[in-house]
Symmetry: C2
Subunit: 374 residues, 2 copies
């Protein structure tokens, strides 16, 4: 099929289960979780000495399906199709790519939508609070399962970038390098504020019902508003001017959405509620708020030798949710640890979404960085 | 009393009524409104030739009460106490200040909370949609009522700044100068997007009941979320770092607000719903979205001689809702009309709120500008 050209083509999401006996996963909160499921996909082939493996980790609303198509009828490919495939930056002719879902997700991994073995009903908000450290801990079990001693790199944007940083701090001996993109060592209070408004919007929807809505309908209105807020922060003033300007329907005397930017946001909200879970949104956004590289270094990253770890940090000029100054803060912190750090700010008008949609420069940077590791 | 020092002291809000006979006010939409009430306050004394009058106009959630205290027990003075009073930038020893409320407001002027004479019940969303042009039209009636032929200046920030610009376009022969602050010739699509999310938040609160809630309780949850979103946009990343950083309660495993910035926003939301009306929020934010200086020039401002109109435009460095580039766009447009334009960007970390809270430089600029008119 034509869409399979330059693509990894048909792929299958798989499910890795661990901690399914007495060996529960101990979370950063001290709570225990088990069994633990992680959805994942792989692209390319693992070489004989298992030295060509790359771990791809995703952002708030992503999943394991990062490239190719899960069925012949799929209209859209995975979320990073423009980065993963034959000849692309994450070249499936050379590398073995593992794309892992996260704890808390609604895309097949352990999270609030999963059945709580103790009650036989979905966890809802009885699912324990998970942190970025916990997400990485689960992924480490997946990497063990493949028998991979050292990952060539871990790469991801936004929350993905936080997982990438956590990999360095938790398991620097299990990785050669990391590529954190469009991310931060900690969210700014402004970003936390946006997250909290999104959560409040969900939790004040009567359908939320304290997270216990799986028998009925989920809080679509609240989740839709949370997504609308999110979308504003993922774009930039610049790209909104380019895309929508102030174009509107004729007339100007209605309370219905009439500016194109309003219609766009409503559409984004309405499609999101069909594919995502409101409780997952709460869990994952909270994990982002709590992530703090400095704290992780103190708690799990001290006294390690980071001199063998190479780092490529990328930020985007119009990203105001994870601004370039935050990328530079990561540079400082990781240099202080002794890592070999490269940094680049890529000029793009696409805001925080740049790492997903405007990948030409990003692809080159990643490709050269990976070549430099060979 | 001590708090009356350097203050205009005790003041009374008054109510001006017009269009109360056959003479309805014709709105920009073509709809008719009458009778029309405008709440207003005055400070200082009108001189004998009525040449010392300044009109102060307010932002989204403001009212006529701009300075002094409405009662001895008031804990807080009016919203621009730091700008209006004896010896201050708007010096009540020299000038006669009229502070006018706007159409659509819930602070005593005609708006959705007012009784519809045709039904004997509050208008709700049957109140006609009002524009910035309509707000200024009503204010012009108030200025007529005082017998003032020419205002010395019209001054205001944010939506106030839009009214100021509209005064120039609608009635440049009735004013000597204008001082638009922290404002824009038109909202960016990003700002429209934030407004729309706020409105959706209100309208999706079950208590909104299509605007017909005056028998019960208003949609507090939705209005509170709208206010929280607004507050994020009124501050800056910078000042949030200064004020809150990432300080939080002990621990990090709760869905309750625990970061200080979250608690702050919740507080702001909760006090706002006690003082403001949800329908007013919808009407006034929509008027802001629709305002477009270019359209106003074409529709009501063409062929006039603006060479006698002086303009002082102020923007603030950390204001990302009404960024400096928008202030400069106003400069260009008003210079093209033939106005005498001065512009200054004031360095402040307080974001859009700077014009309310960080007024030292602003005061100097306004004071010198007014002296230059004498």
């Amino acid at each position: 099929m034509d869409k399979f050209k330059n693509s990894v083509g048909l792929v299958e999401t798989k499910y890795f289960v661990f901690a399914d006996k007495e060996d529960k996963l101990i979370l950063a909160s001290g709570q225990k979780l088990g069994p633990v499921t992680l959805a994942y996909e792989t692209y390319g082939k693992l070489n004989s000495d298992k030295s060509n493996a790359i771990l791809v980790v995703h952002a708030l609303s992503g999943g394991a399906h990062a490239a190719g198509y899960n069925s012949e009828n799929d209209k859209k490919p995975g979320w990073w199709e423009n980065m993963i495939g034959p000849g692309k930056a994450l070249d499936t002719d050379k590398y073995f790519i593992i794309s892992s879902n996260i704890l808390g997700s609604c895309y097949g991994s352990s999270g609030p939508t999963e059945i709580n073995p103790e009650t036989g009903k979905p966890y809802g908000i009885n699912f324990p609070i998970v942190t970025v450290r916990d997400m990485v801990e689960a992924q480490r079990h997946l990497v063990d399962y493949f028998g991979i001693d050292k990952l060539l790199t871990v790469i991801g944007g936004s929350l993905g970038g936080m997982q990438v940083l956590q990999w360095l701090i938790s398991y620097n001996d299990r990785i050669r390098s990391i590529i954190p993109i469009a991310t931060s060592s900690k969210l700014s209070p402004q970003a936390i504020a946006f997250d909290e408004v999104g959560r409040q919007s969900i939790m004040s929807d009567p359908n939320w019902n304290r997270g216990d809505y799986y028998d009925g309908t989920q809080p679509k209105t609240g989740l839709s508003i949370a997504r609308m807020i999110g979308h504003i922060t993922y774009l930039s003033d610049e790209i909104m001017q380019e895309k929508f300007g102030r174009r509107r329907r004729e007339g100007r005397f209605t309370f219905n959405p009439d500016f194109e930017v309003e219609t766009y946001l409503h559409y984004q909200g309405s499609v999101f509620v069909e594919r995502f879970d409101a409780n997952s949104y709460i869990y994952i956004s909270k994990a982002m708020d709590y992530f703090d590289l400095e704290e992780e270094i103190l708690e799990v990253g001290k006294g390690k030798d980071y001199s063998g770890n190479k780092v490529l940090i990328l930020s985007f000029s119009s990203d105001w949710l994870f601004p370039t100054y935050q990328g530079k803060e990561i540079v400082k912190k990781l240099m202080a640890l002794g890592c070999k750090v490269s940094f680049s700010e890529i000029i793009s008008s696409h805001g925080h979404d740049s790492f997903l949609v405007d990948v030409e420069q990003q692809s080159l940077m990643v490709k050269y960085f990976l070549q430099g590791l060979e």
